[in-house]
């Protein structure tokens, strides 16, 4: 039946094309970012690109304040998300009774699905004033507020991937430890968690990767002041992240101007950053999985 063979061939080609489209899309995105950002390197004064001020109106295009802003907020988020996320993951995977797990897991999933603009909205309306009054600082729109919200955004990723990693630890590990006289508590921290180490590291990297890429939340609560953060006090003053810069200024920028190209440059930096983080995280996952397969076979 030649007609059927022809149809089979066509469908196979379509399916193969869809598979390869992923490569095409990434290449296209990279290409466009490079194309639209490279004029920045020739148009902008190199001194300003590596200076200390982001003030486009006067031609200051340094990315350092923005990088610093992203860094401060993300680090702050990490400090909060790591202990809480890890503790929650361990609790769900190792300690919680079944009924508690049935409640906690969906709740964490809901948090993961909340639009970032909703969190930013509440952050702006409720959290920021709270921070201002509680800490007695001039404004509640600070890196700290952003860090709190970003922690909330990273935690679902950290919890769900860590929990998977903990679940994947073979039961025989735990049983062996218990048989040797360890308490369940000791087993958790000396056997199970170390065994799930690489999965947990992946979870944290992916969670923080999501935090770095966040736009709306930080735009709404970090105050949007592109000031180079110096010292820990910066945590409680306004900052501006790279993502918020793009979102806030792209609308008002003249197409083709230096400012426009520098914004694309920031986008390129973000693209490369996420590329590096995700490649490291996923190679860890692949290596861990292969090791686990060897162990379990």
């Amino acid at each position: 039946m030649p007609a059927a063979n022809w149809r089979e061939f066509l469908i196979t080609q379509l399916v193969r094309a869809s598979g390869y489209s992923a490569i095409l899309i990434v290449a296209l995105i990279f290409f466009f970012l490079v194309r639209e950002s490279s004029p920045a390197l020739s148009q902008a004064d190199p001194a300003s690109l590596f200076g200390a001020r982001w003030y486009p109106i006067e031609g200051h295009f340094s990315l350092w304040p923005l990088l610093g802003g992203s860094l401060v907020v993300t680090l702050g988020a990490a400090l909060i998300a790591l202990p809480f996320g890890l503790a929650t993951a361990v609790y769900i995977a190792e300690v919680a009774p079944r009924w508690a797990r049935e409640i906690l897991k969906p709740l964490v999933e809901i948090l993961g699905g909340l639009p970032s603009v909703l969190l930013g909205f509440l952050g702006f309306l409720v959290l920021a004033p709270l921070v201002r009054t509680t800490l007695a600082i001039p404004t509640g729109l600070t890196a700290f507020t952003g860090a709190l919200l970003l922690a909330g955004i990273s935690i679902p990723t950290i919890v769900s991937i860590s929990e998977d990693a903990l679940d994947a630890v073979p039961r025989t590990y735990r049983e062996a430890a218990l048989a040797l006289g360890a308490t369940p508590w000791q087993t958790i921290w000396r056997v199970t968690v170390p065994a799930a180490r690489s999965g947990i590291v992946t979870a944290v990297m992916l969670g923080l990767g999501r935090a770095v890429g966040e736009t709306m939340t930080v735009m709404m609560v970090t105050g949007n002041a592109p000031v180079l953060p110096t010292g820990p006090a910066a945590l409680f003053s306004p900052v501006r992240t790279m993502t918020a810069t793009i979102a806030a200024e792209m609308g008002e920028v003249a197409r083709g101007s230096t400012h426009y190209h520098v914004l694309f440059l920031i986008g390129l930096v973000l693209f490369l950053l996420s590329l590096v983080v995700n490649l490291i995280a996923s190679s860890a996952v692949l290596r861990a999985r292969r090791r686990a397969e060897r162990l379990l076979s």
Partner: protein, 292 residues
Amino acid sequence: MTAPNASPTPARHRRRVQRLGYAFLTLAAVATVAPIVLVVAHIVVQGAPAISLAFLTEMPRAGMRQGGVLPAILGTFWLTLGTGALAVPLGIGAATYLAEYAPESRWTRAIRVALINLAGIPSVVYGLFGLGLFVLFLQFGTSLLAGSLTLSLMTLPVIISTAEEALRAVPNSFRVVSISLGGTRWQTVRRIVLPQALPGILTGVILGLERAAGETAPILFTAASFFLPRLPQSVFDPTMALPYHLFVISTQVPEMPVRLQYGTALVLLAFVLGMNLLATLIRSRARARRTW
């Protein structure tokens, strides 16, 4: 029965440490999860008074300070639909390729690396790309089309990974039997594998679209407009959208009634949670009816 030089911690002490440790973990978990409940409850309580049939079906008035949010609701609806129309066929096709056809080769690994990369790109960078390619280069302008295309690219990795997982979950024995009865690979996929994987795929699609519906950054420069006199008439028109609307009215409109802000937030929340609930229902119903 202890060795002369060892001093083991007495069992009582170990048990106390464990009890404290468990308490600490429980507290941490509750502290992590309680805010979620508070957030949802707060939005529901504050926003419910604003919800009325008028709010949901009328156009806004007085610079958004009165009236309803119909154009934003419709805009989000159309954007989500458009995203699905583009991302779902391409995503399922790619997942089928990865799960059923792709050999273990350098090229297949390249596809996977590309997908990992795509999954991690910040949403605002997708917005930039959408601006550069769809709005400017292809000259679609700020439009429903450009926005949907941008959102569909962003949603693609999510749909592909959940669809691939759903396809791989179908037992391999089905495939072997189908082939042994004279089936081609596509016949096997179309008649057995895809139908069995469908609930899982559907769950992934809904979760992916739920995320697309709530995103603001990708549509900031590609589709969204704050003040539009009328609803979009074609895919080339810009549109309002719930997340963008919430962003603007809460941060950039002076004298915006708080009640309406919460009302808008509640509509968005309901949209997102509704999709979440739908996905969960499909998932549990499929699990119950599964014969393998």
